[in-house]
């Protein structure tokens, strides 16, 4: 039978959104846009490889853990997938203030990928197609869909590009280099070239990964065990996941002068040093050769041995990222305590790929040049699963809102790390792969992992992403937190109840009754101290029967009230400038009083508000004043 070409239209009809790429950004983009009601097609080169953890099998960490909590609070999928595939949980930085507490998990790489795929499969409106997109379908200057390498044209109203490291990916291993997007997977061609023709600027970035080895060949007795937390927490605020009942440990070992000698012996064949890699890699994630080269005085570097899953024997050698020849990698590994008989599964390698300077985007992650085209993840010059996932989520939300003719959903710098991330990217751009650090957020005391739900779930519910069930849970938390705060404010504690505890904590004793909340403010005094001091207080709290989350929340809000309110005031000041909008088609060259540099930068970035303009490097306070004068007229 002769199948007519028109059948294509039934096979792959016109979609609302096509998401190109199935990594962390692509999955979140497809998930959120579909949950909100868009009809989504996820196109990826290999459906077996959805949601790969291309680097280490871990999620979260300092600043990144906060991002995962934010994704979950907004109704994204990464938190749930992470919990379901976790093999170890640790809350980092517990000795510091609550803004620094940072959740991190080790994950089962294969389970992680499977959980994401199943989560997408369970999501209505998400469709799949395995193919390589090699161009956009553009008719009369309008985006109409994508073209694929097997010659198909798939129509859609909007496209989200999440190509990761695949665009013209070039893998370096010693003196060899070959095209590829990831170990064992081919690179993607055509998209960069077409975008450049359309007027986009592009650049190259570099990243690297360490070798994977056979766990059966390691001697763990020579390493230091790193178990998970005794009482593991989890990422998702929802009840859809549980905290771990058993965990797997990581291990720590160190390189030594022998290791460094072997590695140095291969430097002349290193693409890092012989000039074959020219693009910029992240300074905070250097290769082992970079570390011994730049910090020559150090005679050892830490190696973090991470299991890749519950069952698999494959091991990730964190801290040993390298692109030296495979035999040099092997010889060097053998000098490390516990690795004497090591067997390698895969060598480490470096990869160079195309990215598009993110100053070409608006706050909604839509490109300024092509309507309805959105970018998310490493294509924007970021690094990290969490950074990619959060951009995917925001692109998914905003592509849906755009198609519905609604206002974009933009998080401010005092709302979320995600807000800081996107504002930094589109306002300042990035020269090296961008990773989130808490120091990038000026209001980090407000952006805690314990309150991401309080900050964001309501906002997300308003735009139709976070579920009502999610919001109800947040409202209960707020209710209970306030009730707890009021109990502590009203309950007085007598000297004979509390003084022995105060003494034991080197805190000055009290002479007369004092309110419980004023004692809780003291350093080293905790909610449980207060409860064990006052039976009355303890009973009051028991009667309320709050969730653990609410208890922690109330304690943090009371204890750090001074700092939190100060930071809130600072944020308010900033927000005043964020509310002053600059008209989109402002011609800065006509404002003669502006400095030449300011005109150039403002014209390139096209800031939306005075606040954003003030953060552009090269725009001075007097330039801002001139803009204000101009806007006032």
């Amino acid at each position: 039978m002769n199948v007519p070409r028109e059948t294509m239209k039934n096979m792959l009809p016109e979609y609302d959104v096509i998401v190109v790429g199935g990594g962390h950004a692509g999955c979140e983009a497809a998930f959120s846009a579909a949950k909100m009601g868009s009809n989504v097609l996820l196109v990826t080169m290999n459906l077996q490889n959805i949601a790969q953890m291309s680097c280490n099998p871990a999620m979260g960490g300092v600043a990144k853990g906060q991002i995962v909590r934010e994704i979950d609070a907004l109704g994204g999928g990464s938190g749930i997938v992470t919990d379901k595939s976790a093999i170890q949980f640790k809350m980092l930085n517990l000795s510091k203030g609550p803004a620094m507490w940072s959740p991190r998990t080790q994950n089962d790489r294969m389970r992680f990928a499977e959980e994401w795929r199943l989560q997408l499969e369970r999501t209505e409106n998400v469709h799949f197609w395995q193919d390589m997109v090699n161009g956009l379908l553009i008719e009369d200057g309008k985006l109409k869909g994508v073209k694929t390498v097997i010659g198909m044209e798939i129509k859609s109203k909007a496209v989200v590009l999440t190509n990761g490291t695949f665009l013209n990916g070039l893998i370096h291993l010693g003196e060899k280099n070959f095209s590829g997007g990831r170990s064992g997977e081919g690179a993607s061609y055509g998209i960069t070239e077409q975008l450049v023709d359309l007027g986009f600027e592009t650049g190259r970035m570099k990243t690297g990964t360490p070798p994977r080895v056979d766990g059966r060949s390691l001697d763990y007795s020579k390493m230091e065990e790193q178990p998970g937390d005794e009482n593991p927490n989890k990422f998702s605020y929802s009840d859809h996941t549980d905290s771990l009942s058993k965990q797997r440990s990581c291990y720590i070992t160190y390189t030594n002068p022998k290791t460094h000698k072997v590695l140095k012996g291969g430097f002349d064949r290193s693409p890092m040093f012989n000039g074959s890699i020219k693009s910029k890699g992240p300074r905070y994630c250097p290769s082992i050769e970079d570390k011994i080269n730049r910090f020559a005085e150090r005679d050892r570097h830490q190696i973090f041995v991470e299991p890749e899953g519950w069952e698999t024997v494959e091991i990730y050698v964190n801290g040993f990222s390298t692109s030296l020849p495979e035999e040099v990698q092997y010889e060097a590994l053998k000098t490390i305590p516990g690795f004497e008989n090591v067997k390698m599964f895969r060598p480490g390698y470096a990869i160079e790929y195309d990215y598009f300077p993110p100053t070409q985007l608006t706050h909604s992650l839509e490109t300024k040049l092509v309507d309805n085209l959105f970018f998310a993840g490493q294509i924007n010059g970021t690094t990290g699963y969490e950074e990619a996932a959060s951009q995917g989520l925001m692109a998914g939300i905003n592509v849906h809102l755009k198609l519905q003719g609604k206002e974009p959903f933009i998080l401010g710098r005092s709302d979320a790390y995600i807000g800081v991330l996107i504002d930094d990217l589109i306002t300042k751009g990035t020269e090296e792969p961008y990773r989130m650090f808490t120091s990038r957020a000026e209001f980090r005391i407000l952006l805690r992992q314990d309150n991401a739900d309080l900050r964001l779930t309501n906002l997300s519910h308003q735009i139709g992403l976070a579920s009502t069930e999610q919001l109800d849970k947040v409202n209960l938390k707020i209710e209970q937190t306030n009730a707890l705060k009021s109990i502590l404010k009203k309950t007085s504690v007598a000297p004979d109840e509390i003084n022995s505890i105060l003494e034991s904590k080197n805190s000055s004793v009290i002479k007369q009754k004092q309110k419980a909340n004023s004692l809780l403010v003291r350093p080293h005094i905790s909610m449980s101290d207060m409860r064990s001091a006052s039976e009355f207080l303890d009973q009051k709290i028991k009667d309320l029967d709050p969730t653990q989350d609410a208890l922690i929340q109330a304690e943090i809000q009371i204890k750090y009230d001074g700092y939190i309110s100060r930071e809130q005031e600072n944020a308010l000041k900033l927000n005043r400038l964020e509310e002053v909008k600059i008209p989109p088609h402002t011609d800065y060259s006509t404002l003669s009083s502006l400095s030449a540099e300011a005109v150039e930068k403002l014209t390139e970035i096209k800031p939306v508000t005075i606040g954003q303009a003030s953060r552009i490097s090269g725009v001075s306070p007097s330039d801002v004043s001139i803009l204000l004068v101009y806007l006032g007229r």
């Binding site: 300092v62 510091k96 300074r283 990038r440 350093p523 007097s622």
Partner: protein, 457 residues
Amino acid sequence: MKFENPDDTICALSTPQGVGAISLIRLSGKDCLSIVNSVFSKSLETAGTHTAHFGTIKNDKQILDEVLVTIFKNPQSFTGEDLVEIGCHGSVYIQAQILKLLISKGARLAGPGEFSMRAFFNGKMDLSQTEAVADLIASGSEKAHKLAVHQMRGGFSKEISELRQELMNFASLIELELDFSEEDVEFADRTQLENLINLVDNKINSLLDSFSYGNAIKNGVPVAIVGPPNAGKSTLLNALLNEDKAIVSDIAGTTRDVIEDVVVLDGIEFRFIDTAGIRDTTDVIENLGIKRSYDQIKLARIVLLMVDLAGSSVLDAIEQVKSFREDAISGGQSLVCVFNKIDEVDENIGESLKSEGLVISAKSKLGLTELREKLLQEVGEEEGEGGVVVTNIRHYEILQKCQVSVEKVKLGLEAQITGDLLAMDIRETMNLLGEITGEISSDDLLGNIFANFCIGK
């Protein structure tokens, strides 16, 4: 950039800085009426909007100046807030004293463009653009000021950049422990942090001292006069003083036996410092004097070399200038050569020396106009547009605020509060200092961390 608290009452000099007939100081904000009322000779409590009041500004009992106070009540003012303008006499000293007094009563110096910004937020920006741009002059002069400060004090900008570095090092150590707690690097212990913050504190204190208000007013432009005792230095000074009917004072300088004479030319203070002169000698005492001369020359902005034409031949005179230029001038000072006593020698000699410097006679007051012009010209080239004194106070005020936040950091360290909370006060210090030292961004901090610590598992 950042904006300070919009609820503060701000003040600033609105007319160009320098000596003139009158100057205008402007205050805006909710407390401006009560602040002015507290230092004005008459009660302004019942004064209506758009009224002018003549009286005196007093610091306790001491009268600073006779002034005209004009009141504009919100919303009928430039900024849309309560606004007061004080018209005072146009002396640098008076302007600065009044501003200092207003600050002590609770006002704060306005940031660049802050009056316009308030006008904007209060919907008042339909006024002419020129008024707003006047605000910008303050920010422009900050650059000029930096340059002038650099020239004048030499070591100042070095100290500022050292302070910036110390602060950055301290902040980096705190951030290191927060963002990179999982890394295998050595974290700073308490003693180390205490030492570092003390360094920052000391730097701020020494800057406050060197920058104290009195100094800034007194400093003027240091001019070292170099020449032997018989070259006619005092005759020249007297001539300059008399001609200009200027304020004359003898101020004991920092060094016991250095005499300073202050001459105000065109509103700019010139501080003449007499030095012993420089020549080869084996006399121990004289050598000490010569060393001191060199020190004075280093501190000066302008070096006035006086050559006695009556005591030396033309060739000699040229040779003296040449060797002096080679030996003594090491910093960025400008050298002005003055050949004195032209009235005592052949006039033709003067012609042959004109390319080398100014030919004058202090006694007969010949060539003094040219000398004055030359001195002003030397200053003008480097000074840019005025604003020196005001920005001085501004910096002084910033440094004082920094001192307060550094104190908070120290208390926090003592109380062992955690790094993330300490960092709030450090950020405040960095934001404040950013206006003098250049901003320290989170990228700078991260860069500093990556450069000094091996980050990245």
